[in-house]
């Protein structure tokens, strides 16, 4: 085992020497700053387009903007709401972000989140009588494992059968939703609840409470901790560097003797685990049980967050706040302007398009000196 590890690190050192100079030059020349400026510009343009759209509808764009601000960050209530919505999408973003490091476009966060929620409930049903903290950890671990296995399956299909991972993960979202609905309407249904189909609840003892003095659950702290850990892994370890090499140049990774299958599965597994954890936390901290309410699009929003953060782990935190804020302001937009609830979806779609279009200007904003 240690032999192969040594072998790997020797080989990656070789790669490191060859490509390290290149990546360092890119960093020094302000690629990070440029990514930030591009994303910020894309946001501004998207808000402008949305403003024109609402103006055509006969609404005052400035009033809509101020309501968006008020609903997202204007009061302590709205900030807590924003943070609560940001918690799951911080994690689901990694379901797209980590596989993107190895050059895959995975969009299965919604499915992994759904199965993560199912995993948490199943763990709660099977593992009774644990101390509370162990119960919470067990539920979250079970959720992560379900999510990891789900996305790893897509990674395995990609690696050994050449199945396009974007299409397979998108299909698997629908399959996961069907599995969830099947389970909560039959096998694990709580028949004491008659108003809607939902699963047996997770034991009261295993619930995750709020951060003292806030009405934001501890899941947010877990999410931030996971982001830091993943940042360390992706940016400061041999494994993370090997992933970047694979994502940057598949041939170079092959030449360096990297185990492509292992890296592919690892990236998919970590991404799926993050989204599964998001589902588990939603269950143990918000809903208490699994139901259709879990499928509100956190997985799809995570894709947008990953792209807006330009696949940078730490930037996810900032971006998730912005996107969570928009989602949180949706209710206020509905009440104040009688807008459809799809207004925020539309805004997110416009942002997504602008972010992708802004890629056309990458490398042209600042002159590189290296």
């Amino acid at each position: 085992m240690s032999d192969t590890a040594n072998e790997e690190s020797r080989l990656t050192n070789k790669v490191d020497r060859r490509y390290g100079a290149l990546s360092e030059a890119l960093l020094r020349s302000g690629a990070g700053l440029e990514a930030f400026v591009l994303s910020a510009l894309a946001l501004v343009v998207a808000f402008a387009i949305f403003g024109v759209f609402v103006a055509v509808q006969g609404l005052d764009p400035l009033a809509v903007y101020s309501a968006l601000w008020l609903g997202a960050f204007g009061t302590s209530f709205s900030i807590e709401n924003t943070l609560t919505l940001a918690a799951p999408i911080i994690l689901t973003a990694f379901c797209t972000l980590i596989p993107a490091r190895v050059g895959m476009l995975v969009i299965g966060g919604e499915g992994a989140l759904a199965l993560g929620g199912v995993g948490a409930v199943l763990a709660g049903m099977v593992l009774t009588g644990l101390p509370w903290w162990l119960g919470v950890v067990a539920c979250c671990l079970a959720g992560s494992m379900f999510g990891a296995a789900w996305i790893m399956a897509a990674g395995a299909l990609k690696h050994w059968r050449g199945v396009n991972e974007t299409i397979s993960t998108l299909l698997m979202n629908y399959i996961a939703a069907a599995i969830l609905l099947h389970l909560v309407t039959g096998p694990i249904r709580d028949f004491d609840v008659s108003i809607k189909a939902q699963s047996v609840p997770v034991p009261e003892l295993y619930r995750l409470g709020d951060i003292p003095g806030w009405s934001v659950h501890w899941g947010l702290v877990v999410g931030v901790a996971v982001v830091c850990a993943l940042h360390m892994l992706l940016r400061h370890t041999v494994t993370g560097f090997s992933m970047s090499v694979l994502g940057g140049n598949r041939r170079a990774a092959q030449m360096a003797g990297l185990d492509i299958g292992r890296l592919t599965l690892l990236a998919c597994g970590l991404g799926g685990a993050a989204a599964g954890l998001a589902g588990a936390i939603e269950v143990v901290a918000v809903h208490g049980a699994v139901s259709e309410s879990l499928l509100v699009g956190f997985g799809y929003t995570g894709i947008l967050v990953a792209f807006l953060a330009r696949q940078n782990p730490l930037a996810v935190l900032l971006v998730a706040l912005v996107i969570g804020g928009i989602a949180a302001a949706g209710g206020l937009l509905q009440r104040r302007f009688d807008m459809p609830d799809a207004a925020t979806d539309l805004l997110l779609g416009i942002i997504f398009i602008c972010v992708l279009a802004s890629n056309a200007f990458a490398g042209r904003l600042f002159r590189r000196t290296a």
Partner: protein, 308 residues
Amino acid sequence: MMEGTLGSWGVLIAVLGGAVRVSTPYLFVALGETLTERAGRVNLGLEGTLVLGAMAGFAVSFLTGSPWLGVLAGGVAGTGLGALHALICNLPRVNDIAVGIALFVFGTGLAFYLGKDYIHPRAEMLPGIPLGTWSDSLAIQSALEISPLFFIGAALAVGLRWALFNTRWGLLLRMAGDNAEAGRALGLSVNRIRLFATAAGGFLSGIGGAFLSLYYPGSWNEGLSSGQGLMAVALVIFARWDPVRCFWASLVFGGATALGPALQTVGITSGYYLYNAAPYIVTLALLVWVSNPREALQGAPRELSISR
């Protein structure tokens, strides 16, 4: 009840009838995606196009009283989204698959936003052609009431195949998809060919959407489309980018989709959600079957990002 006396035959007839009925939107989206992909681009946003086309078709039929104008409106809305996809992808360093996902979000968001006012009223529906009047059985009569759009789609499949392989524009389209460099060397604008191909693909997908809201299921609501636009992308791979094979493949997909509701009519309701997932599972299984880790997908246009 007639359905009861037919027993297991009832399930078969319902699946066959359902296959014909449900296959039409698959067929239109698949034909549109075939055009787009033959020119070298993947548009993964056709799910959004389908939903926007459904909304536009329903709204226009409701406002004008003419369902065929609605079909046209669905096509026009789809053309708009297709053109948007192509124009963004014409920019350098833009990933066409990611743009597709963005248009998926944007198209459904726009459709639900603008379509909120049309959820309640009932619009004028497309007429069906009753081919089952010779039978006394209601099940057979309903299975054989077929939309004219189904026949239009079938004719279109044959026509597109002929046009792709026997006309000048078919050759240009395939050149853009198979070897963009060769096209550029001849002084052609590959981007412009792709713009037309993606816009035309959007037009066909929009018509598929109008079928959903104006014929079957025949209403406008937010749960109208459930991944048909996406499955059509996999269907095109399975059909190896051939319009006529798209026709047969969409019948298979239609049958898989009709299985859940058909079993429900004869009283098999346990596992309802799992049967409803059949089309996704079938799609995934077919995708695994036709994929190959060592070489590009068989028959794929060479410039296509999903086949490289």
